[in-house]
């Protein structure tokens, strides 16, 4: 019983981080209709940039963190302006493949600039684990969760109340109507990309803090696809809830099925879940059901 509770709590906390990364996917998808498969590479890059600011320049954590966000923000702008804008209106395969290509470029560059060795973040948070009484959460995971939760909440507040956020939501619901009220749709596209990149970077930093940094850190980005497919590609609430569900499910699968299959089930479980959801309810829990007319 104890181990079950422990696993559920761990899964829940991991799920919070997944929710944040999923938010990055959803922000970009909602506004521009692009599934950004480069998210993983953006996460890895964010983690490495932050680490470099911390260790090479000796910056305090908050400064390194903010600088990383600025770097990713600029990167998001650049990607949207230079690559994605050329492809507006192109078939879906072009748009997906361009993000795959970008991912390949970013991953390769990260590999060239920072060699592939595994590294760990300097100690940022107090190392005592959090004791909930019925379960214990390791320090990195706990602080990562707090971080992800705060970041998610901030994104949501911006989305809900700020002028920019409202413009983004308007664009997501109807591009033409938004444009006719004077919203610059291009600006919103660029903003969504930079927000998406920032969310990925925070996700990368948090994951790096939990399990150390290597160039393969971004592989989690593909697992998070399960989260957004479950939640519905265009639902922010779905992304957050989906994060928790997938986090718990994959840890449970790891606990019960790993002995049967000899390890590795935890990493593959999200993909099984993807297939199941697509067969049963393709638009996810809260996604918009698309009705097609010829």
């Amino acid at each position: 019983m104890d181990i079950l509770l422990q696993i559920i709590v761990t899964g829940f906390v991991t799920g919070g981080v997944y929710g944040l990364i999923a938010l990055g996917f959803v922000l970009i998808f909602k506004a521009t209709g692009v599934l950004n498969l480069a998210t993983g590479a953006l996460m890895t890059l964010g983690a490495f940039v932050c680490l470099t600011f911390l260790t090479r320049l000796g910056a305090p954590f908050w400064a390194a963190f903010l600088l990383t966000l600025v770097v990713e923000l600029l990167l998001g702008f650049t990607i949207e302006r230079v690559v994605l804008r050329q492809l507006i209106g192109e078939p879906i395969i072009s748009v997906i493949m361009v993000t795959v290509g970008l991912s390949s470029i970013l991953h390769g560059l990260t590999h060239i600039v920072w060699s592939p060795e595994h590294r760990s973040f300097p100690e940022l948070f107090p190392p005592e684990p959090l004791d909930l009484g019925f379960a214990v959460v390791p320090s990195g995971l706990w602080w990562g969760f707090v971080f992800a939760a705060v970041a998610t909440a901030l994104f949501l507040l911006v989305f809900k109340f700020s002028r920019t956020g409202i413009a983004m939501r308007a664009t997501a619901s109807d591009q033409q109507a938004a444009q006719s009220t004077g919203i610059s749709v291009r600006w919103v596209f660029a903003l969504s990309w930079s927000f998406g990149c920032m969310a990925a970077a925070i996700g990368g930093i948090v994951i790096g803090n939990i399990s150390g940094i290597s160039i393969y850190l971004g592989d989690i980005g593909l697992k998070v696809l399960a989260v957004i497919i479950l939640g519905g590609l265009d639902s922010i609430g779905g992304a957050i809830l989906g994060g928790f569900i997938i986090g718990v499910l994959e840890n449970l699968a790891g606990l019960y099925l790993d002995p049967v299959f000899g390890g590795g089930v935890k990493d593959i479980a999200p993909f099984f879940i993807i297939v199941l959801i697509l067969l049963i309810r393709p638009y996810g829990l809260f996604g918009k059901k698309i009705i097609e007319r010829v």
Binding site: G108, I268, L278, L279
Partner: protein, 347 residues
């Protein structure tokens, strides 16, 4: 006056050999394919074999993605299934090679049909994610289904034997690869002159409209998956018997992307394009390899960066082609042909 390409009937328009010139060009090509192994060294033949496998795989993927419009991020998984099937049939059940090869294709096609089932409900982005999931699930199976696949140690194969000839050198293997490439490419080219191929294209252009016109989406989408995976399976079986070993590391997600890159660079929805793409994307890393070993005297440590450099170059090629030449090398080739077709009086 008759000028360039001028046809008066549909039959002429559909003909495979459009003109005497095409026949001659093909004749020259076949002659070159036959003479090549006697002129080339082991390394060139090794590359030629790799290009042959890539052509088969790329044509298969193009049938599914370029012609039928079903994006697949799991092509490497199907290649892997073909490879493992061939390896297991040959080593465990002692199938002769000539029988194991089509069997690998058939098993792979069956797997393709299963993975294709979600395509009946979902499309576009969602299908893309489904095939991505299939890729990782099969990769997991290759590693963890140890009794069958021997896990990460992989399976060693003997040199393939056809009747009494053992294909133990690059040169002997080349003839097998080349004849299969010609056979499968010709089949693909003909497929798109038939009812089935036209149904594929109709599904790509607008699936709902196609269904209203009487094309059964269920049947044709699954057929597309089956044909495409059959090609992938044959490609995998050939590759594995050429390498004489199969391990899970041969079929990573990266390979799927590489094949997609081939058909994008070559040209989506063009058989010729897949061939161009396969040649281009096989030669590029080899060229990089040569370059980096040439420069390694001046810049030590460059050799270590070969893999990431390859990644960057692939990514850049994909992005550049999608932005500047979305119809790929096949379109460039067509433009060159048109230019010379009317030359020197193009106006």
């Amino acid at each position: 006056m008759r000028c360039a390409d001028f046809k008066t009937s549909y039959i002429a328009d559909e003909a495979i050999f459009q003109s005497l010139f095409v026949k001659c060009a093909l004749g020259v090509l076949f002659a070159a394919l036959l003479i090549f192994p006697f002129m080339a060294g082991a390394y060139e033949l090794y590359i030629a074999n790799l290009i042959g496998f890539a052509v088969i795989g790329a044509v298969g993927l193009n049938i599914l993605t370029g012609f039928t419009g079903q994006i697949s991020l799991g092509h490497a998984a199907f290649i892997g299934i073909g490879g493992y099937t061939a390896a297991i049939l040959i080593t465990r059940l002692h199938f002769p090679f000539w029988l194991a090869l089509p069997c690998a294709g058939v098993v792979s096609a069956a797997a393709g049909v299963i993975i294709g089932i979600p395509s009946l409900r979902v499309k576009g982005l969602y299908l893309c994610v489904a095939t991505l999931a299939a890729q990782f699930i099969f990769e997991f199976l290759f590693i963890h289904w140890e009794p069958l696949t021997k896990g990460i140690r992989g399976i060693n194969l003997p040199a393939p034997q056809i009747f009494s000839i053992t294909l133990d050198s690059e040169r002997k293997f080349y003839f097998l690869t080349a004849s299969l490439v010609v056979l499968l490419v010709a089949y693909a080219r003909n497929l798109f002159r038939s009812r089935v191929g036209r149904a594929f294209v109709a599904i790509r252009d607008r699936d709902l409209a196609a269904e209203i016109m009487g094309i059964s989406l269920f049947r044709y989408k699954l057929t597309a998956f089956a044909v495409s995976s059959f090609y992938a399976g044959v490609c995998g079986a050939l590759w594995v018997s050429f390498m004489r070993i199969v391990t899970p590391e041969h079929f990573p997600f990266h390979l799927s992307i590489q094949y997609l890159a081939m058909i994008i660079v070559g040209g989506l929805g063009s058989v010729l394009g897949s061939i161009f793409g396969a040649i281009f994307m096989t030669l590029t890393p080899e060229l990089l390899n040569v370059l980096s070993s040439a420069l390694s005297q001046m810049l030590p440590g460059l050799q270590k960066l070969f893999i990431p450099m390859k990644e960057v170059v692939f990514g850049t090629l994909i992005v550049l082609f999608l932005v500047f030449e979305p119809r790929g090398l096949a379109e460039i080739w067509r433009r060159i042909k048109t230019f010379f077709g009317l030359w020197p009086f193009s106006y």
